[in-house]
């Protein structure tokens, strides 16, 4: 099989020495992690490797020799390096040598048992140690068994480099028995802000956990669980959103460290999402409270409500006349029209009663925007629902009336044909009616049929209005969902440090020379933005339409009440 040698590009200019790394026999590949320089004592090197193996659970061993001769070939050094093969017995013993500044290296292997007579081809793959160590492969494979035969080659290599982090912690300026060359970090001093934040995060988390436990204790108390109040909380979307954010805060402030990459990214995404949310909310608040915007809003609210009520009154007057040229039943028209007009009158009086308090209520409610833009949007959606409550009431009245009429009509239609609905058997059966039953039934059927257009028109108009309000509310909730679930930290990471989120690798063929091994450069292939969003999306209490289009149309036709948006926590019908 072809022998693959993964060589870190940072060791290209290292002094001569021996190569240490991991040998994966199933794939015939050698992952080189570092170069140990002369002078060294073989016993100390073996002991050091044993210690590293214990900590990292990666079978690190001496793989071969590295000869970087700046001048002409030194024969004695190459013989010395061959003799090293006998001290550190490894099969096969890899010898890499570089002459001067030449790009093309010599790579050969020494086999103890020369049983395979064919020339084994060698492929030299350069990799960037720091990027491979920090990156994570997607989709993440099970790393329970590092040396499994069916584990993909790439994940084995990535795991080897990532697990050997302790090997890379030795500094080149350390005065120890072993001098190595590998990737060096910039040290703790380079990122002092990060270190300070790490130190400060522990007491901050504990404080946050304490506060959150207080708040959740208050929320779960019995006082707030009585029937009218609990019904109210479930209907208001603001309470749902606040509960959702409380959950998020609990996830962030938990003292358990994140176990794996997915949990860490989830925590980071929640943190950034909360930060952006609060920042946008405070921005909104600063705009609202500057130049007395709240006062302007409150001043325009009453005239807008008045205007909506006037429009509704005009609409009802139009319906009571001859709408679109249709001829309505005069009496029923007048009854329904006057009934709804009286409702509007009640509503207007109520709004005018509340008008002196509106500004103060808005002022205090606007303060809650500091909890986040999503909370402000949910409050807006709730205010819209409250202000258009009369439209919703009209829709319910119209729907109920229409529904009753449809049911009556269908039942009397069956009577007209001599059939009956058998409740026990849930099917239509024939039935012999008396003459007077038939007479009254047909009479009622005719009355209901001729009153149908009037009721249907009122039902249609108010359903359309209600659907309009529902669509507006739906759009606001969509925006809230977007802010809730977008993984901003992952997107920024993909933009700035694209090697951290790897979809795979890509190889580039470097300059070749005949007789020398094939040279490839392995680079990280980053994940596309679409897959980043899909993999790291935060789960929400998503509101999605409960019914498909056909069942929605069927419900509209029959006059059943529609509750289009379903929340995840609600019980299924």
């Amino acid at each position: 099989m072809v022998l693959k040698v993964f060589f870190p590009s940072c060791c290209s200019s290292a002094e001569s020495g021996i190569l240490i790394g991991r040998w994966i026999p199933e794939q015939s590949s050698a992952v080189i992690l570092a170069v140990v320089h002369f002078p060294f004592i073989p016993v100390q090197v073996k002991q050091y490797l044993r210690e590293v193996q214990q900590v990292t659970k990666v079978s690190v061993s001496v793989l071969g020799s590295w000869n970087n001769s700046k001048q002409e070939k030194e024969e004695s050094l190459s013989e010395f390096l061959e003799d090293l093969g006998t001290i550190f017995s490894h099969e096969p013993w890899i010898q890499i040598s570089k002459e001067g500044d030449s790009k093309f290296w010599n790579c050969s292997t020494l086999q103890k048992q020369p049983d395979n007579h064919r020339e084994e081809e060698i492929i030299l793959v350069y990799y960037d140690q720091r990027k491979v160590m920090l990156s994570h492969l997607h989709p993440p494979s099970d790393t329970a068994d590092l040396g499994a035969e069916d584990a993909s080659k790439l994940s084995a290599i990535f795991n080897t480099v990532a697990s050997s982090k302790v090997l890379f912690m030795t500094d080149r300026y350390d005065d120890g028995p072993i001098k190595m060359t590998h990737w060096q970090s910039d040290g703790i001093e380079a990122s002092i802000i990060v270190e300070l934040m790490k130190q400060a995060s522990v007491p901050a988390c504990m404080l946050l956990t304490f506060l959150l436990s207080l708040v959740s204790g208050v929320c779960n108390s019995r006082v707030l669980k009585f029937w009218p109040l609990s019904f109210l909380w479930s209907k208001l979307s603001t309470c749902e959103q606040l509960g959702h954010r409380l959950q998020h805060l609990q996830v962030i402030s938990s003292s358990k460290k994140a176990q794996n990459q997915t949990q860490l990214m989830r925590k980071a995404n929640i943190f950034v999402s909360l930060l952006i949310d609060v920042a946008l909310g405070i921005l909104l608040m600063s705009w609202l409270y500057r130049k007395n915007q709240i006062g302007h809003l409150a001043d325009t609210l009453i005239p807008v409500a008045d205007h909506v009520a006037e429009e509704l009154q005009d609409l009802l007057q139009w319906l009571m006349g001859a709408p679109a040229g249709l001829k309505m039943n005069r009496a029923l028209d007048q009854v329904l029209g006057r009934f709804f007009l009286y409702h509007i009158h009640l509503w207007i009086s109520y709004i005018h009663l509340m008008s002196p308090f509106i500004e103060m209520i808005l002022w205090y409610v606007g303060l809650s925007a500091c909890l986040g833009l999503t909370v402000a949007l949910c409050i807006l959606s709730d205010i819209i629902a409250l202000l258009t409550f009369h439209i919703y009431c009209f829709y319910v009245y119209g729907a109920r009336l229409y529904c009753l009429k449809i049911y009556g009509l269908s039942s009397l239609w069956r009577l007209f044909r001599g059939k009956k609905w058998n409740v026990l058997r849930q099917r239509v059966d024939s039935c012999s009616y008396d003459l007077d039953q038939l007479f009254i039934g047909t009479l009622l059927f005719t009355i209901l049929l001729f009153l149908l257009p009037t009721t249907a028109l009122y039902y249609l108009v108010f359903t359309l209005l209600c659907l309009l309000v529902v669509i507006v509310q739906g759009l606001i909730h969509l925006l809230v969902d977007l802010i809730d679930s977008l993984p901003l930290y992952s997107i920024i990471l993909r933009f700035c440090r694209s090697y951290r989120l790897a979809a795979g690798v890509k190889f580039r063929v470097l300059e070749q020379q005949d007789g020398k091994p094939l040279r490839l450069l392995m680079q990280i292939n980053p994940l596309s933005y679409g897959s980043v969003v899909q993999t790291y999306r935060l789960p929400t209490y998503s509101c999605y339409p409960k019914d498909s289009w056909t069942s929605l149309c069927k419900k509209l036709f029959l006059g059943e009440l529609i509750y289009p948006w379903k929340h995840k926590g609600e019980k299924q019908d």
Binding site: M1, V2, K4, S28, E121, I123, D150, S152, K153, L154, G504, V505, K506, F507, V509, Q512, P517, L518, L520, N525
Partner: protein, 190 residues
């Protein structure tokens, strides 16, 4: 390194370049025809004429600047996301197969498939509307079922070379893939 001329399924001229880097590494690149100046000028003039017609109707000069803006944005989007200049296949025996598409703006999108996942490389027939077209594809191994195929990855989708070009690529790929089979068989015999 050799370059040969072929035709695509729709008749456009293509160039196939085959490079052998080493005994087990081969690169096959299909170069698509470049963006034609006459089609570009035709589309631009059509859009600008339509914008000028709208301007004459509604006397709003915003229409003209919007048309220029749209043309520029449309061209950039076309060059960066739609127009593929070259599609190449890099076969490295015992490592894997790498499929690269390079766009006209210089962007490259790469996928690397490991050799353990590759079951075979075959030429398939497809009936599309009134045509029968041939395409080269990589069959991926199903990890659970050794005989099954989990996914089919079609290659050279935007250049769509004809059967003669595909046969060349197929033969080249199989020379390297068969080495792997021979190696595994000899290992098994031992």
């Amino acid at each position: 390194m050799e370059e040969r001329r072929y035709r695509s399924a729709s008749g456009a001229p293509l160039a196939l370049r085959c490079r052998q880097h080493s005994a087990s590494c081969r690169e096959l690149a299909v170069r698509c025809p470049r963006l034609q100046l006459r089609s570009l000028s035709a589309v631009t003039s059509a859009v600008w004429l339509a914008a000028y017609g709208l301007f004459v109707l509604c006397q709003n000069s915003m229409v003209l600047s919007a048309a220029i803006f749209l043309t520029l944005i449309g061209l950039i989007i076309y060059l960066h996301f739609v127009k593929i200049d070259q599609e190449s296949l890099l076969v490295i025996g015992s490592l894997g197969i790498q499929v690269t598409s390079s766009y006209a703006s210089g962007k490259e999108s790469t996928t690397f498939i490991e050799m353990s996942q590759v079951k075979d490389v075959v030429i398939n027939e497809a009936i599309h509307m009134q045509k029968v077209i041939y395409y080269l594809c990589i069959l991926l191994q199903d990890p659970q079922d050794p005989q099954g195929v989990s996914e089919v990855v079609p290659l050279f989708q935007s250049s769509q070379p004809r059967l003669d070009c595909l046969i060349e690529v197929y033969k080249s790929c199989h020379e390297i893939l068969d080495q792997r089979k021979a190696a595994s068989q000899s290992d098994g015999v031992k």
